[in-house]
């Protein structure tokens, strides 16, 4: 895609579990993941625990080396770049984790924490660092003089603001949020999401927003990718994925989410999906979801459906939608 800021192509990663002799096993954590991200866009990445969404984020950032595939940042190969260039490219993509407090260094002041990426990249001196930290604190809704304090003096929501400030200090184009609001209470979560959306508009940022909570993902995303057992099973415009889901797993996920309106949904209306997700150590043959799928066909147990376009910009990996 010509106007893609980021193009992820066929990323895969297999982890080898420690074991004895013949019991040594491995897990395909992410398989053949491809997507693009346009400037100013938010791609939501949703799935249940163990689906590989956080691993995929780490592969995109090159925090983990992939076994296969590549990451193109404005047409430049991010992972294959020479050391110096990779260092420069790395500035352009940053990440915010779930547990802000533990992602900040407890022995550094907030100001030093925020400026740490500048120091590591060898940009500017102490004066510039202080100034950058003060400006960013104001940008994320804290007081500039908070930079003298230590992370433990702040609440969970405030720590997440600090982590966001640190992610922005190198003026990135892309920020990855990995369950960044999942540990926060409802009222604080809304504050942080509002901040994240405001910053996107002001700074023209592109986001990859990872969460297990489809409600949150929909609220912030332009497009949504749904993962199941290491693979993207559906990707498309947020409205289409939520209103007209193609993949039976996406449908299962949507039907299981309680709606906060007792007139429309009570416990008996919740969708119940057969079984539990298989262990990634022993994934089913064929389509990974076939063992739980209400629409399974004989071929689903044998062949793996490819992610293929069904409607404009909307793709699913399911034989129900495969062209004959």
């Amino acid at each position: 895609m010509a106007d893609a800021l980021l193009a992820v192509e066929g990323l895969g990663k297999r982890f080898h579990a420690r074991g004895l002799g013949w019991r040594r096993r491995s897990v395909q954590a992410v398989a053949d993941a491809s997507f693009t991200l346009r400037r100013g866009e938010t791609l939501g990445l949703v799935g249940e625990s163990g689906c590989g969404k956080s691993t995929l984020a780490r592969l995109v950032l090159n925090l983990i080396a992939p076994d296969s595939g590549r990451v193109m940042l404005e047409g430049k190969d991010f992972l294959g770049a020479a050391r110096g260039q990779q260092r420069r490219l790395r500035r352009r993509i940053q990440i915010v984790f779930q547990d802000a407090l533990s992602s900040l260094n407890p022995r550094m002041t907030v100001g030093v924490n925020i400026a740490e990426p500048l120091r590591l990249q060898g940009i500017g001196g102490p004066t510039e660092h202080r100034q950058a930290a003060a400006e960013l604190l104001a940008l994320v809704g804290l007081r500039p003089d908070d930079e003298e304090n230590y992370p433990h003096e702040f609440s969970g929501g405030q720590c997440q603001r600090i982590a966001i400030a640190r992610a922005l200090v190198l003026k990135p184009d892309i920020v990855v949020f990995d369950e960044a609001v999942s540990a926060l209470d409802v009222s604080i979560r809304a504050q942080i999401l509002r901040l994240i959306l405001d910053l996107q508009q002001r700074l023209r940022l592109s986001y990859i927003f990872i969460s297990h909570d489809l409600g949150v993902v929909r609220r912030v995303s332009d497009r949504i990718a749904v993962m199941y057992l290491g693979r993207i099973v559906e990707i498309g415009p947020a409205d289409d994925v939520c209103r007209a889901p193609l993949h039976p797993y996406t449908r299962a996920l949507l039907s299981a989410i309680p709606i906060a309106d007792p007139r429309r949904m009570r416990v008996r209306d919740l969708g119940l999906t057969e079984g539990e997700a298989a262990s990634a150590l022993t994934p089913p043959t064929g389509c990974s979801f076939h063992d739980r799928c209400p629409d399974r066909m004989p071929r689903c147990a044998v062949e793996r459906p490819e992610l293929a376009g069904v409607a404009f910009g909307h793709a699913a990996a399911c034989f129900l939608h495969a062209r004959m």
């Binding site: 504050q191 999401l193 409600g215 929909r218 309106d261 007792p262 009570r266």
Partner: protein
């Protein structure tokens, strides 16, 4: 008090020990559990919802203690019952399901034996009979191949399956009341749906009352008949589930509902967060505890604590402004 009230909690007050700042975590909470109905206790972290459940069960860690109020079960105040009497009730007449099944289960004991122990602690039956009943309970909660799996240890089960095991233990003595504290919070949403359905089906079967503690308004809407909204240790609004979601009166309830992120709301729906954060209960604000964050607050709100007002049989609010609005028109 009507006949169908199974548990009547009145003006409960609980103070934590000095290590937790000696704060009053539960401050004047009253509610009644009615037969066959589910009451949800909803609020954010630190609102006192779990502390309320632990207080009811007599499980507050000393030196923290329940310092006031009554917990009336069958006309007896459990607060003044001796330890033996409490033990007879807790786990048998009142079944308990906590959030984290791994820390509620003994890692060194097969799950069948753990459920059997619960039964043996409360009933004068033989070991073999207790084991047989444990296996039937595991079958009932959906553990496949229960006779064999009863010999497995907790770590052999997935999170969802462990929660089923815990539920089996909770219902082992056919309780009149089930207290479930964030029973699905750690679970994936497809697993959550099944656990909620199981809890509901069991409650119906046994005509039990349920006290469901959760921070998730979606879960409340799906499960509750009656709802209590807690903020900073106090109940701010109490209503039947339909009223709470469709005619909420307290500004905090309204704000909480506005913060909900449903799968039906897309990017175009503006986010309307509540400003600020909940108060530090070691030093609670004077007057209404929500006043510092409340869009409707005026000076008087911070001067005097609001008086709870009963609007209808099943709708109580503690808010001066909402009360004024009703009087004015």
């Amino acid at each position: 008090m009507s006949d169908d009230v199974v548990l009547d909690v009145r003006n409960l007050r609980t103070r934590f020990g000095p290590r937790l700042g000696g704060l009053v975590a539960v401050d004047g909470v009253s509610f009644a559990l009615r037969r066959g109905r589910t009451t949800a206790l909803v609020g954010e972290s630190g609102s006192g919802k779990s502390a309320t459940a632990l207080s009811v069960l007599g499980l507050i860690d000393p030196p923290g203690e329940v310092v006031g109020g009554e917990v009336l079960y069958r006309g007896r105040d459990l607060r003044h019952a001796d330890e033996r009497e409490i033990r007879r009730v807790r786990g048998a007449r009142i079944g308990i399901v906590f959030q984290d099944p791994l820390s509620s289960l003994n890692p060194a004991l097969p799950i069948g034996s753990q459920i059997a122990e619960t039964i043996l602690a409360h009933e004068a039956i033989g070991r073999a009979e207790a084991m047989a009943r444990a296996v039937r309970l595991l079958e009932r909660v959906g553990v496949a191949d229960a006779p064999r799996r009863a010999a497995d240890y907790p770590h052999h089960f997935s999170g969802g399956m462990r929660q089923r095991v815990l539920i089996a233990a909770a219902i082992a003595c056919r309780p009149e009341i089930i207290i479930a504290d964030e029973p699905t919070t750690a679970l994936d949403v497809t697993v959550q749906a099944k656990i909620l359905r199981l809890l509901y089906d069991l409650q119906q079967e046994m005509a039990a009352s349920m006290l469901l503690i959760t921070h998730d308004l979606g879960v409340v809407a799906a499960m509750a008949d009656d709802v209590l909204v807690m903020y900073a240790g106090q109940v701010v609004e109490q209503a039947d589930v339909d009223t709470l979601f469709h005619q909420p009166r307290h500004p905090y309830t309204r704000a909480l509902l506005a913060c909900m992120m449903g799968v039906e709301d897309d990017r175009a729906v503006p986010l309307t967060p509540i400003a600020g954060s909940p108060p530090d209960l070691r030093d609670p604000p004077p007057g209404c505890r929500f006043a510092p964050r409340c869009p409707a607050a005026e000076a008087a709100c911070s001067a005097w604590a609001p008086v709870a007002l009963r609007l209808t049989d099943n709708h109580v609010i503690a808010c001066r402004r909402a009360t004024e609005a009703l009087v004015d028109g």
